[in-house]
């Protein structure tokens, strides 16, 4: 933050002193210098939509290119999704990756990291946000350009909690963003494009067979399908 602040001050000073286009080049150099070290950037956690579709941001490691093979279920899910999107059979030249970086956020498979594999994503099967575990990250050659690759996530979704006796203290506080889900996984794997991944999830066991999830979305506030807008009367005069 401090580096960004200093950079913007420098930029302002440059603009005051120069009136030619060369200033833009100097500005770029300053910004590049300021954003070299992004590890302490307070904006870490943002998913940049602009970067989301850029497959080459993920660097396939040595481990990725050898050893990881897709399961039959994952292959089936990928084929179905690919056919729905492009109306073509999926090409054979696929690469399995252990992780994929979107913006500054690293998403990893369950085999790679048990912490970075829990995500909230837009489920294509049930049509709403749901938590899931990334099982595979697959890079497929792009249809549009030969030089690019598209990245897809194969996710095992958590099942919805059946309406039973489990008390939910967060039901009246939807904006808090916590929700209870079953610890059981859905029967089918889901393959989704990278832009369907919304954010990481934080979770902990609640009661038996129930897990408490919260989406760590720093940009938008997620609203669940059962979201009810609760109006509260505000009395500012009291303060």
């Amino acid at each position: 933050m401090l580096e960004t602040f200093c950079a913007s001050v420098n930029f302002k000073a440059l603009l005051l002193h120069h009136h030619d286009m060369a200033v833009v080049k100097k500005f770029m150099a300053i910004m590049d210098d300021a954003t070299k070290d992004r590890s302490r950037d307070p904006l870490a956690g943002i998913m940049l939509d602009a970067d989301a579709g850029v497959a080459p941001s993920s660097t396939p490691s040595k481990r990725a290119t050898r050893g990881i093979t897709l399961s039959e279920r994952a292959l089936g899910a990928l084929n179905t999704m690919y056919h729905q999107l492009f109306n073509k059979p999926m090409p054979a030249a696929t690469i399995c990756l252990p992780k994929h970086i979107v913006g500054k956020v690293s998403f990893a498979t369950r085999a790679q990291s048990t912490r970075d594999c829990n995500v909230f994503f837009r489920s294509t099967l049930c049509g709403f946000m749901a938590p899931g575990v990334i099982q595979f990250i697959v890079s497929i050659p792009s249809i549009a350009t030969t030089s690019k690759r598209d990245t897809f996530f194969v996710i095992e979704r958590y099942a919805q909690l059946m309406e039973d006796g489990t008390s939910n203290p967060f039901s009246s506080h939807k904006d808090f963003g916590a929700s209870l889900w079953s610890s059981k996984m859905s029967a089918v794997l889901e393959a989704v494009p990278v832009d369907h991944i919304v954010c990481h999830a934080i979770l902990r066991p609640w009661v038996k067979d129930v897990i408490l999830f919260k989406a760590l979305d720093r940009v938008s506030i997620l609203h669940y399908p059962h979201f009810l807008f609760r109006l509260m009367h505000v009395n500012l005069q009291a303060f």
Binding site: C6, D116, H173, H200, I202, R204, P205, S220, I221
Partner: protein, 206 residues
């Protein structure tokens, strides 16, 4: 405080700290923190939260505490559905848990990376509801400057945009940098402005 004492106490006799969690509940919170699975970039709260040993928590640790751990732990430890709200202590704990969730929600709206009139309004709704519960729980509570300042954040979100652009952590960092600077305790030998100008010039000459 025992259940009997809690039931006999008058409403206006309650003070901040009377509803403090006991050591057993604190241990539950510690196990809660250790059982939570969080992304690698998410700073966890100290594993021994609430003890003097961990020192003063950093702002990021406070944030992660309030973002998930503390509200969820309070709701889980004080399982109101199981216990019911039959006595005064349970009723107060339920209100306290609600107030914590409201505060966490207010922080969530306020520290979002984008803002709008709706977000600013939601922040104000949550913050006012939180303060109302506080006053209800502790009628003798005197408002502090922080309570007042919190109600200015809503208009600030509209006037200045997302909080990350104008919060004071930048200056906190500069204060920290100044605090770590070695000095000879002689005032006037080090000019901050000159230093900043030199830094700016160096950058321009690059």
């Amino acid at each position: 405080m025992s259940r009997k004492q809690a039931n006999e106490r008058q409403q206006n006799q309650w003070a901040v700290g009377d509803d403090a969690i006991n050591s057993k509940e604190l241990k539950h919170i510690h196990s809660f923190i250790s059982q939570t699975t969080r992304p690698s970039w998410h700073t966890p709260p100290p594993s021994n939260l609430g003890e003097a040993k961990h020192g003063k928590p950093k702002a990021d640790q406070w944030r992660s505490c309030m973002e998930f751990d503390v509200p969820a732990a309070m709701a889980q430890i004080w399982d109101f559905n199981k216990r019911g709200c039959e006595d005064e202590r349970a009723r107060r704990q339920k209100k306290l848990s609600e107030a914590t969730i409201l505060l966490a929600t207010a922080i969530r709206w306020a520290t979002s990376y984008c803002t709008s009139a709706h977000r600013a309004l939601q922040y104000m709704v949550c913050m006012v509801a939180y303060l109302n519960i506080l006053k209800d729980l502790y009628p003798n509570l005197a408002w502090l400057p922080n309570h007042h300042a919190a109600l200015h954040i809503g208009p600030f979100l509209l006037n200045f945009g997302p909080m990350h652009g104008w919060w004071m952590f930048v200056y906190e960092r500069i204060i920290g940098w100044l605090g770590k600077t070695n000095t000879n305790f002689k005032i006037g030998k080090f000019n901050l402005l000159q230093c900043a100008e030199r830094h700016q010039l160096t950058n321009q000459l690059r």
